[in-house]
Each structure stands twice: as C-alpha cells, then as structure tokens.
Symmetry: C2
Subunit: 202 residues, 2 copies
C-alpha cells in the first residue's frame, strides 16, 4: 500500500495553500502546488499562466465561449487536454509516496487510487476578501468581486470534471473554516488527524 496523500481543496483566499505548505513542512513530506504547476508545464508544453488559469477554473461565462473555445477535430477542448494530462501527472505523483497536493481536483482523481486524507478549507467571504488584498495586493476589481468570481469559476470547473458538488461536506474527510479557526489551528488539526490515520492503519 502506498503512503497516504493529503489533498487540499480550498475556497479562493481561504489560506488553503498556506495550510497545505505548513502541513507538509510539519510532516516532512513534499507539497505540490506551484511545483505541480511547473511540472505540468514542463510535461505538457503549456505555459505556467495558462495552467494556473485553465487548469482549475472554468472559463468566464460568455455566449461566445463555446464558439471560441479551441477544439481539435475530435471536439476535445484545450482545457480537456490539460485535464487529462493533469490527471495522469497527479496519479503518477501519488505513486511516489506521501505528499500534500493543493487543488486541481486531486481529491477526486485519487479517491479510489490511493489512501487519501481529503481536506476542504473554506472561510467567510469577508475574511477572504480582506486576506486576498494582504496576500495578492490590490486589483482593479473589488476583493469581494474577485472572491465571488473565482469561487464561481472554480465550482463550475470542479463540477464539470468530477460531477460532484464542490464544497459539499460529504465529499471530504474533513472540512475546516480557516476564518474562524485560524490557519495554525487548521494546520495542527490536519497534522494530528493524518498521524491518527497512519497509526490506525498499522
């Protein structure tokens, strides 16, 4: 049996990525987030920005979206190609040993493939709007609109490729409100849960 993987799905701005890194550091296992994007880039030839945007978010809704979406002769869109490649890369990563994988529907991809601790991190919109300005800086759009837009597109992407409801508690082994609990407490909770599962497994 291969080692357990922690998958972290997260609402935009909830700190899920930060928690993932901290958990990995505590457990001394790798965390795949930016590294995963770079790996996908090098193996697929897509550039990093394209993967960041198209590998986790549905395209902006537009009545021209379908007409303009690049498709090959079999009707497969570029996003579908990227999905399949990401899928295979995540499967390969899971074979290598224990790690944390942030985003990219890894919870869904690995659920019958490897022992997983599947985590969802969420927080209130106000907390997230404040936090994204601190982390990513000001943008033309209001932080509230950025949070709402990213949520909607991530939800649509997840639903499209997994046919599951994003953010439904039943899809995850543990879901945590980082806004109320704080990032450190979330990290500690996941670390302890992971250790308990590893002990019970023996």
């Amino acid at each position: 049996m291969s080692s357990r993987i922690i998958t972290i799905s997260r609402e935009f701005g909830s700190g899920g990525r930060t928690i993932g890194k901290a958990v990995a550091q505590r457990l001394k296992i790798p965390c795949y987030d930016q590294e995963l994007i770079e790996k996908i880039a090098s193996e697929t030839g897509f550039n990093v920005d394209y993967i960041k945007e198209q590998g986790e978010y549905a395209q902006h809704k537009s009545r021209f979206a379908n007409a303009f979406a690049a498709r090959d002769r079999k009707g497969t869109s570029m996003q579908d190609h990227l999905w399949r490649m990401q899928y295979q890369i995540i499967l390969n990563l899971a074979q290598k040993g224990a790690c944390v994988i942030v985003g990219r529907c890894a919870d869904y991809i690995l659920r019958d493939q490897a022992p997983v601790l599947s985590v969802f991190i969420h927080a209130g919109q106000g907390y997230r709007a404040k936090r994204i300005v601190e982390v990513y800086g000001e943008r033309a759009e209001t932080p509230e609109k950025r949070v709402k837009d990213k949520d909607e597109r991530r939800r649509a992407y997840y639903q499209h490729y997994t046919d599951m409801e994003w953010g439904n508690a039943s899809n995850y082994h543990i879901a945590l409100d980082s806004g109320v609990l704080g990032l450190d407490t979330c990290t500690e909770t996941i670390v302890q849960l992971y250790k308990a599962m590893e002990t019970n497994q023996r």
Copy 2:
C-alpha cells in the same frame, strides 16, 4: 462572554450522537440530546415521541400534508410552535454555560448568540446503513431506505427553518467523515479543536 457551546449536526446513523456524548464526557460538560428532548417535553407539554419526530424532521411528503397539518387560527402549524419553543429552550441552555447540543438546528439558532464550535458529522450511506441495524435493530424497511428517508426529511426540516443548505461545509466550523475516520478519532479531533479555541480566546 459565556462559555463555548459545541453544536453537532449529523447525518442519520453517522454516530454524531455517540461522538457528542464522548466529547462532552472528555470535556466534563453536559451533553443535551435525549435530555434536551425531555426538557422540551416538560416545558411544552408535547410528548417525547412527538418531539423526536416533529422537532427535527419534515413531515412525510404527501399531497394531503398541508390539508392535514394541524394549524391554529393564525395559520401556524404545530411544528412551527414546537420550533419556536425549541428555539427558546436552546437559547436558554446556551446561557447556562459550556455544553454539547446534538441536532435540532442548534448551530443555526446559536450562531450569532453565543461562542460556538459548529460541527457536522457525516458518513457514506453503506457505513450508516450497517450501523443503524447494529444500533437500532432491524425494521420492516431496509436500512438503506431508512437512511435515505431520514436524510431527506432532516434536510427538508433544516432548510425550511434555517434557509440554509444542510451538509454544506461552509455552514460548519468543522465537518468530519466518521465512516472513514472512526468515532474515536472524530471525538479526539473535536476535543483538541475545542481546547485550542478556548486557549486562543484567552
């Protein structure tokens, strides 16, 4: 500031009630479940079986349901009366000090009224179907049908009185899959989280 309350919402058969009792025992605080039902009975005059059934579950769907639902001259159903009384009793309980409250939409009722750790316990249908036979014994209906029916009616009740989506991770501070994690690990996780929140508050 009053002491923190732990509210436990749970899918039928997930062991949420057992976890609630174990958490309360570990923290040496009261757990209101059967006791709450008896309290509601003594304060309202409704009998215990009526409260168990009507205080948490929507009525079975029937095209005659509305016609038959007992209503007073203001159009308030008996279930609405019970809701209001339960609401007040739960608010009063929360004033008395730290405790665990299982079910009865306490998460919603207390969310702006008291410091709360809001928990949701869920598990796969197969796990729950097996468990309810062990805990509640065989019935005429199959366990799968009992689980499905109870889920639907609890969901409908919650949605009707809170206008929130039952089982959506965003409604809870922590959601746990008791089927995968086990009841003991869920208990331990909640106890540790509660202690961490109490420490951070000081």
